[in-house]
Point group: C2
Chain length 351, copies 2
C-alpha cells in the first residue's frame, strides 16, 4: 500500500512531518512518497500541480494533503495559483464526495464562540459534492456588446452527479443517527430544484433514513441557533464550502478538524481518497513550530479508515489525539502553549 | 406622501397592523394603501404579484412589506409561488441595494446562541446586491443530449452593477466606523474576480474607508468566531442571502431585525425603497397573536428615514422599541409572553 504525501505550503510541511511520525510509529508497513504541490510546486516546477505530482497521486492508494496557499503567488494568473492544485486534484481524480465531520471534543466546549450548551451538542457530518456546481462550469471575464465588463460562471448539476453524492450521504446517515438534511436554494435556483428532485428520488431506496430539506440561508441560521439538530447534511459544492467552514468554526478550533475527499475507485481495502485538514496554510505562523498538527494527524486516521480499511489503527490514532487533548495538550489555536512537535510527541506517547 | 402596504402571508397581516397603528400614532399625515401580495394574492387574484399591486408599489413613495410564504402554495409552478412576489418587486422596481443591519439590543445579549461577550460586540451592516447574480440569470431544467436531466443557473455581474452597490456600501461605511469588508469567492469564481476588481476601482474614490476582502467561506467562519470585527460588509445577492441570515441569527432573535431594499429613484425627500422584516411568514404561528411585530415596526422606522426623510420620527420609533425591550416586553421569540398586540401597545405607549 502506498500513500502519496503532498505537504504543500505554509505550515503544510511541519504538520505533515508530525503525521508521518505517527504513521511510522504505527508500523503498518505502508509505503509513502512525497511530492510538491501548490505554491511550493509552482516555485520548483512552474505549476501548482505538476504532472509528476498528479501521476503519483493517481497511482497511490490514498493522498495525504497538507495545505496550499502562498501570498507570494496571489497575483499569478488564476490557473497558476496554489488553490488550483486542490481543485485540479479533486477534478482529475474524480474526488466527488467531501466528508467533513464536525464534532465537539470533550473538554473543549469553552473554546467555541457558541455557548457551551449549544456547542457541546455538535455532532454532524457535512457531505459536500466536490466535482460539480459553479466550481467547474464554464467561467470567464468578457466585454459585453455594450462595452461593459462582465464576469460569469455557469452553475449546474446533472442527475447522476446528484444521485451519487446522495447515495454517499444516505449511507452515511444509516451509519449514524439516520437523519439527513439536504440543503439547497430551490426557491430560487433551478440547479437546486433538480438537486432536490433527485435527492427525493434516491430517498426511496433508504426508507430507514429521515430526510428533510432546508434552504441554505436558513441552514446558515440554524447552524448558529442550534447546530445540535443536524446529523448528516448533504449539499452542493458552493453551499458546502460555506456551511462546512461555518460548522467547523462552531466547534471552536479549525486546528482539530479533518476531511476526506473520496472518489469512485476502490483500493485493495477501501475507497481511494484525498485527506486534508480543513484549515489552510497559515503562512503567518509557518516554520515557527506553532501550528497544531492534530487536524493533519486526524486526516491520517480518516485515510487509514476509508482508503486502507485499517479501522483499528484509525481508532488508535483518534484516541491518542483525544487523550492528548483531555490531558490538556493544546496549541496556541486553543489558547495553549504546546508547539507543533510537542503536540506530535504527546500524540505519539499516547498511541 | 403615500406608502404602499403589502401585508402578505402568515403573520404578515398581524404585524403590519401593529406597524400601521404606530404610523397613525405618529400623526405624520402620510397616506397608506393596502394591496395583496404572495400566497394571499395568488389565492385572490391568481398571481403572487398582481399588476395592481406592482402598480401601487411603483407609484408610492415607499413600500412596507410584511412577509410572503404559504405552504399551500409550495407545489405551484415556480412563477406562481409566493417568493416570486418579492423577487419580482426587487427586479421590477430596481431595488438593487439591500441594507441589513444587525446590532445587538442592550439587555438581550443572553438570547444569542453566541457567548454574551461575542454577541454584544455585534454592530454590523450587510449591504447585499439584490438585482443580479445567479438570482436573475438564465435558468432552466433541461435534458442533455445523452438523456440526463440537468438544472442550471447563469451567475454573472457586470461592472456597473458592482459599481453602484459598491458606492452604496462605501458611503454607508463613511457614515459608520469607516471599515468595509467585501466578501466574494474570487479564488474560484470569475463573477467574484470582476466583483473584486471593480470594488477596488471604486475604493479609489473613498480614501477614508478602510477596505478589506474576504472569501465567503472565511466570512461565514468569522461571523461565528468574532462578528464584532465587522462594520460594513458588501457582497453579492447569493452570498448576501446566506451571510445576512447568519448574521441576524447571531443577534439572537430574527424577530427584531428590519431591512431596506433601495432603488435609484429619488422621492420628494429620500430614496424609493421597500422595507421588510428579515423573518418570514411563520405560518405555524399565524393568526394566534404570537408574532413579534418589532421587526415590522423597525422596518417602518427605516422607511421613514430612508424614503421619507423623517429622521426624527424614525428615531422616535426606534427608541420606543428599545425602551419596550429594556422594560422587559418580549414575545415568545425571546422567551417572553407578550402577544402581538401587547407588544404593539407597549411600543405605542413609549412613542
Ligand atoms: C481553496 C478553495 C478553492 C477551496 C474550496 O473552495 O473548495 C477551500 O475553500 C476548501 O473548502 O477546500
Ligand atoms: C424568499 C427568498 C427568495 C429571499 C431571497 O433568497 O432573497 C429571502 O431568502 C430573502 O433573503 O429575502
Amino acid at each position: 500500500m502506498m500513500i502519496a504525501c503532498l505537504p504543500g505550503d505554509g505550515i503544510g510541511p511541519e504538520i505533515m512531518a508530525e503525521a508521518l511520525r505517527v504513521l511510522a510509529a504505527l508500523d503498518l508497513g505502508i509505503e509513502t512518497a512525497i511530492a510538491d504541490v501548490g505554491g511550493a510546486a509552482y516555485k520548483a516546477h512552474g505549476h501548482p500541480l505538476p504532472p509528476e505530482t498528479l501521476e503519483l497521486a493517481r497511482t497511490s492508494d490514498a493522498v495525504l494533503f497538507g495545505a496550499v496557499g502562498d501570498p507570494e503567488c496571489d497575483n499569478l494568473e488564476r490557473h497558476l495559483r496554489p488553490e488550483q492544485a486542490i481543485l485540479g486534484l479533486r477534478s482529475a481524480l474524480g474526488l466527488f464526495a467531501n466528508l467533513r465531520p464536525a464534532t465537539m471534543f470533550k473538554g473543549l466546549e469553552d473554546m467555541s464562540a457558541l455557548k457551551p450548551e449549544v456547542a457541546s451538542a455538535i455532532d454532524l457530518l457535512i457531505v459536500r459534492e466536490l466535482n460539480g456546481d459553479v466550481y467547474f462550469g464554464e467561467k470567464a471575464q468578457r466585454v459585453l456588446e455594450d462595452g461593459r465588463r462582465q464576469g460569469y460562471d455557469f452553475m449546474s448539476y446533472a442527475e447522476d452527479e446528484v444521485r451519487r453524492i446522495a447515495h454517499v450521504a444516505f449511507r452515511a446517515a444509516q451509519g449514524r443517527k439516520g437523519k439527513l438534511c439536504s440543503v439547497d436554494k430551490a426557491n430560487v435556483l433551478e440547479t437546486s430544484q433538480l438537486w432536490r428532485d433527485v435527492v427525493i428520488e434516491v430517498a426511496a431506496e433508504y426508507p430507514d433514513v429521515e430526510l428533510s430539506h432546508m434552504y441554505v440561508d436558513n441552514a446558515a441560521m440554524q447552524l448558529v441557533r442550534n447546530p445540535g439538530q443536524f446529523d448528516v447534511v448533504v449539499t452542493g459544492n458552493l453551499f458546502g464550502d460555506i456551511l462546512s467552514d461555518q460548522a467547523s468554526m462552531c466547534v471552536g478550533s479549525i486546528g482539530l478538524l479533518a476531511s476526506a475527499a473520496l472518489g469512485e475507485r476502490q483500493t485493495a481495502s477501501g475507497t481511494f481518497g484525498l485527506y486534508e485538514p480543513i484549515h489552510g496554510s497559515a503562512p503567518d505562523i509557518a516554520g515557527q513550530d506553532k501550528a497544531n498538527p492534530m487536524a493533519m494527524i486526524l486526516s491520517l486516521a480518516m485515510l487509514l479508515r476509508h482508503s486502507l480499511g485499517l479501522e483499528e489503527a484509525a481508532v488508535r490514532v483518534e484516541k491518542a489525539v483525544s487523550q492528548a487533548l483531555a490531558d490538556g495538550i493544546t496549541g496556541a489555536d486553543l489558547g495553549g502553549s504546546a508547539g507543533t512537535t510537542e503536540v506530535g510527541d504527546a500524540v505519539l506517547a499516547r498511541l
